[in-house]
Symmetry: C2
Subunit: 365 residues, 2 copies
């Protein structure tokens, strides 16, 4: 995997899943697709039934889906060996994944399906992960908006949603190439009759995307607070420019495209799109504030960590490595503290609604 | 796995393999056994050829063995998928394993065999790890002296080598039960014609064992320095007593026993002992001191960390959890500093020669 991989880093020790309630809600909505995928399968094979969770972070948000799927598989094929492999980048916190699966993290429910063989892979989903023809069901949620490389820095913003012209085109092309690459790699890994279920961040038919569903635009807020550090003399112009998420929120048309080209490599590899729809999952933090459960300060204190869980590595990586590590961390703390103060002072419209495209893909039997 | 698992912990971020040069030398001596094991195999199968490294810690000491085996497999069966799974306890530093395998740790050579599918398992080797019949070659070095549970505390010493009477018997029986359990679990996992290669700590025919080959007895030194903390009023009597390694160095006869009982479960499961011999690997640190490369202080500074890499968790776990974490760490630092000062002041006879029993086991085809 390319340079982006070195800097993408979820916060560890269960922080990620503990602070991403919304991500779990999305996966709960994807669970019927995974159950539909296995319902369509012949389970009479002798090889282990292998499930993968691509880009699983600490594994906490998807345990419920895997519990449902594995319970159903165990019921229908009681004698078949079942494996579950969590994949992510090599520096991921896999110790937390295993401890979560085994129910060894305090206060967190484990997988709870006995006899499932649990593995991890530290290989990027832009590379082959499984031997050809060995995967029965691949799942991935809220991971594949991370591109294999940053196609271009965006000087004027932190995210491709604000890119224009040639920069926007560079992101669009990288995202298309990466999506095809992911699908072709998985097509090789899937056994005949296997399936993929995705819940990927998307720009939906109404132009909505993560943190931009009508209220304050989250990526605009990120950008404003980052530039504010520069206005205050705390960071350099180069550091402002370097903060660019190597991400792209594909449109539904972009997700569908490889499946609509009958002569294209994805269809030729045997993959078919069975279901595809978008889904807006309201920010659970904003909902609790709106319901009067929280004060503005409480909302801000709960909400900003969910942004931090996945965004911190990009901002930290934008800072000059010549700065002492403690200084860099202090700048990042200051950045999120300012964002939190902003939300606490003027909470209206803040919130990170999730916008996903859910897909179920089958491979010809 | 029982209570011992929660406290066994190798130091992370590559510390383990960087400070266990001797462990790597042993594995280099075990490499011919692994090559002999695959030489005897029919490689014409279609399923992935799966290799496991049980209790691999950070994976650094065995990468050379796996490189040799995988290179030979790739030569003989160029089209067969090859997998390598590092296993250890769930809290192990798997991020370092993956980064090492992929050659992403500064100054450390990676696996270097392209196209090998790399996985990890956080499941104890006292539990099933792989689906039945899917493992081609299992390897384990310097791990299976860790028992599944502490059979009894040893008030008067820190290690079973000094246990007597009923306490000694309890350790011996636990070690026998654990060894049979390991073998029976692996017998299920192995494909027909598969093999196991072990380099386990042992008490050899001359009564030698780790750190006890004629000079100062390492476990006696551990015990003396631990009791010295009590004599100085730094730790309590209960803390002295609680420091007991959940370990046992099996004799060759004990390692052989399950294979010599033709009606016993291990033989009935299809396992046969093909090779078995003991090996003393001189302490590489003591050797450099003896050769005049190091002063006594330099020797002590290099030597004590290799002890610390695997012993720290036992001593840390013996301290009262009511002590603040920083105080516990300070006591442990003081303990190893005293050991280091002891070695620096009077280096003669210090050293941790490794004493291993190397075994090659086959499963009937």
């Amino acid at each position: 995997m390319a340079e982006a991989a070195a800097t993408i880093r979820m916060r560890g020790a269960g922080y990620y899943s503990a602070h991403t309630t919304g991500a779990k809600l999305v996966i709960d909505r994807a669970t019927p697709l995974a159950l539909a995928a296995i319902r369509a399968m012949d389970l009479s094979g002798a090889a282990p039934f292998a499930i993968a969770d691509f880009g699983a972070a600490d594994g906490g948000t998807s345990l419920g889906l895997h519990r449902a799927v594995l319970t159903e598989l165990r019921r229908r094929a009681p004698d078949r060996a079942l494996t579950l492999t969590h994949t992510d980048l090599p520096h991921n916190d896999f110790a937390t994944v295993f401890q979560l699966v085994q129910g060894r993290l305090d206060g967190r429910e484990g997988l709870g399906v006995p006899g499932v063989f649990s593995f991890a892979s530290g290989t990027s989903f832009y590379d082959p992960i499984f031997p050809p023809g060995t995967l029965a069901l691949g799942f991935s949620a809220t991971a594949m908006h991370w591109l294999s490389r940053l196609p271009a820095p965006i000087a004027e913003a932190v995210h491709a949603v604000f890119a224009t012209g040639a920069t926007q085109a560079a992101f669009r092309e990288q995202a298309a190439a990466d999506w095809q690459r992911i699908l072709l790699l998985r097509a090789v890994e899937l056994a005949p009759g296997g399936a993929l279920v995705f819940a990927n961040f998307s720009t939906d038919e109404a132009g909505r995307y993560l943190g931009a569903t009508g209220g304050r635009n989250m990526h605009a807020c990120f950008g404003a607070h980052w530039r504010a550090l520069h206005a205050a003399g705390a960071i350099t112009e180069a550091e402002v420019a370097r903060a660019t998420f190597p991400q792209y929120y594909r449109s539904v048309a972009e997700f569908r495209a490889p499946f609509e080209d009958a002569a294209g490599p994805v269809r030729q590899a045997g993959l078919r799109l069975e279901e595809c729809f978008t889904l807006v999952t309201p920010c659970p933090y904003a909902a609790r504030f709106a319901a009067g459960e929280w004060t503005a300060a409480e909302f801000a204190r709960a909400y900003v960590p969910t942004l931090r869980s996945w965004s911190e590595s990009t901002f930290l990586g934008a800072l000059d490595p010549a700065r002492p590590a403690a200084d860099r961390q202090a700048l990042i703390d200051r950045f999120y503290a300012a964002y939190e103060a902003d939300v606490a002072a003027d909470p209206a419209g803040h919130g990170m609604d999730y916008v996903h495209c859910l897909m179920r893909v089958s491979k010809a039997a």
